[in-house]
């Protein structure tokens, strides 16, 4: 055994010491944030612990939940996660396609295309998502189009998010400088080549972080599809068992936990992607 202090562990220079102090400070900060999160989480759990006590003659109590019900219905409600993810993924794909066309239309100089894009965005952004979801269940059958519940929900969510995301895409496309276009034109590129090779790849990189946010928001908004009663995703299952067994609160708490965990995971994935993207920038 070597009893001499290891050389590589010893601070080598003033700069090294300053850097280590900085790292220590960062670590301490992150640790304290972690501890605080833990305390907040404990408080939240305590809030639902069903305790009753009296302090200085004033009675206190926390919310009571039926843990037996939770245990019994956990699997049934969790069974909706797959459906929720399926709706979200299909909807985001549709939304991205629509957003791309709407953004291109918005930047187009061809009046009908421009009009179609602005009309679509205005109509969708001017009405509530909840209403739009019902619309697809109520109006389409009148045209003889009867979609399975899932697809009607996907159509409504995709159309809605597409309208909002078109703004993100438009900003992304506008963020590509004039110089980039001129360089491509000077090389002899056609408009299509310029878009496909130069503008869109750069616009997408710009648009990916806000698209991640939209995707996370969409997994939660997919709960609205439950209102139609045809798609057996998380929210629908929670409402169904809650109502049937008079345990609405427990059922909703369970759904809330599942949604929260899902968004936590998605947020982690998103920050990974963002970190990788910004690395490419340097």
């Amino acid at each position: 055994m070597n009893l001499l202090p290891k050389k590589e562990n010893a601070p080598t220079s003033h700069v090294e010491m300053l850097y280590q102090a900085y790292q220590r400070k960062e670590r301490v900060f992150r640790m304290n944030v972690g501890i605080s999160w833990g305390i907040l989480l404990l408080f939240l759990v305590f809030l639902f612990s069903g305790q009753e006590w009296t302090l200085a003659g004033i009675p206190f109590k926390t919310i009571k939940v039926d843990s037996e019900f939770i245990r019994a219905n956990m699997v049934f409600i969790a069974g909706g996660i797959g459906e929720t993810i399926k709706i979200s993924i299909l909807s985001i794909i549709l939304a991205i396609l629509l957003a791309l066309f709407a953004a291109l239309g918005r930047l187009s100089t061809f009046p009908p295309f421009y009009a179609l894009s602005t009309f679509y965005v205005s109509l969708i952004r001017g009405t509530p998502l909840y209403l739009q979801i019902f619309f697809f269940f109520l109006a389409l059958p009148q045209l003889g189009i009867i979609l399975p519940g899932l697809w009607a929900g996907v159509l409504a969510l995709g159309l809605n998010y597409g309208a909002y995301m078109s703004e993100t895409f438009r900003a992304g496309i506008s963020s590509v400088g004039k110089g980039q276009r001129e360089a491509a034109i000077a090389l002899g590129m056609t408009n299509g080549q310029l878009m496909r090779r130069i503008v869109l790849p750069q616009a997408l990189r710009f648009a990916i972080p806000p698209m991640g946010n939209d995707f996370i928001a969409m997994t939660k908004d997919s709960a609205l599809v439950a209102a139609t009663g045809f798609v057996h995703e998380l929210m629908w299952r929670a409402v169904k068992v809650g109502r049937a067994q008079f345990h609405n609160l427990e059922a909703l708490i369970m759904a809330a936990i599942f949604y929260w965990v899902m968004t936590l995971l998605l947020t982690a994935v998103q920050s990974r992607i963002e970190a990788r993207l910004s690395k490419g920038d340097r």
């Binding site: 110089g179 491509a184 080549q193 750069q202 920038d281």
Partner: protein
């Protein structure tokens, strides 16, 4: 000798503002023409009209056997403009490299996408042109990781890879730190020696004096004077040229 570029009565309006007031200019093959003038004199606009980055309002542009009247419309005109762009290479003040592509991909982009060349052949051409500007050693790097002077050299290689008949330079060193200007001018001197036809809008009087076959002076949208560098720079005929040279001498642009 037939000129490779010929501008006849070229006019350009931006709204009601007349930026070019009837320019006549001929450039011979293998000639190096430097265009000087105060900012706002229309020199960049004239250059950008040659490859139709600016659509001229009036006049005619002849380039490498193509005759393109201003204000043309329709498929035929677009085809002519496209061909004009294929025979010209342009280098911008701000480099405008494609940041999402490596240096090599930047230079291959034109041959592969515009000319439809197969990748192996395009890579060969790209590497040859990168070597020409001394940038082959950075071919796998991305534009954000190289210096301004290096970016501009890559931008020159990107234009050269299209094997243009005329190279257009729009103030190629104006966005560079002083210590990086030299390397870009060296590359341009090399091109001039190889016999490349070049039209260079510049503020670098030393470069113009040394490399140009002819200097063209512009002022307020007009071509006021042209001639051999030593004549124009030593014995300017026009008082605007004199004023311009005085400004350079006192270190102002």
């Amino acid at each position: 000798m037939t000129p490779i570029v010929k501008l006849t009565n070229l006019k350009k309006y931006f709204g009601r503002l007349e930026v070019l007031k009837g320019i006549d200019l001929e450039v011979q093959p293998r000639e190096v023409v430097c265009v000087i003038g105060r900012s706002g004199s229309g020199k960049s606009t004239m250059l950008r009209c040659i490859n139709f980055l600016e659509e001229p309002s009036e006049g005619t542009i002849e380039i490498h056997g193509l005759t393109i009247p201003a204000g043309g419309k329709g498929k035929e005109h677009q085809q002519l403009v496209h061909e004009a762009r294929l025979v010209t290479g342009m280098v911008f003040q701000e480099f405008n490299l494609f940041p999402h592509m490596s240096i090599l991909e930047n230079v291959m982009e034109g041959p592969v996408i515009v000319k439809g060349m197969d990748k192996a052949k395009a890579q060969e051409i790209a590497e040859m042109n990168l070597a020409r500007v001394g940038m082959l050693f950075k071919k796998d790097e991305y534009p954000l990781r190289i210096s301004g002077g290096q970016k501009q050299r890559v931008a020159i290689a990107r234009a050269l890879a299209m094997e243009p008949k005329v190279m257009l330079f729009d103030e190629p060193t104006s966005a560079l730190d002083p210590e990086l200007i030299g390397e870009v001018l060296e590359v341009m001197k090399g091109l001039a020696k190889e016999g490349t036809t070049m039209i260079v809008v510049t503020h670098e009087m030393g470069f113009a004096r040394e490399v140009a076959d002819r200097i063209v002076v512009m002022n307020e949208g007009e071509l006021v004077e042209q001639g051999k560098p030593e004549d124009v720079l030593n014995h300017p005929q026009h008082k605007q040229t004199q004023a311009l040279l005085d400004r350079y001498r006192t270190g102002k642009k």
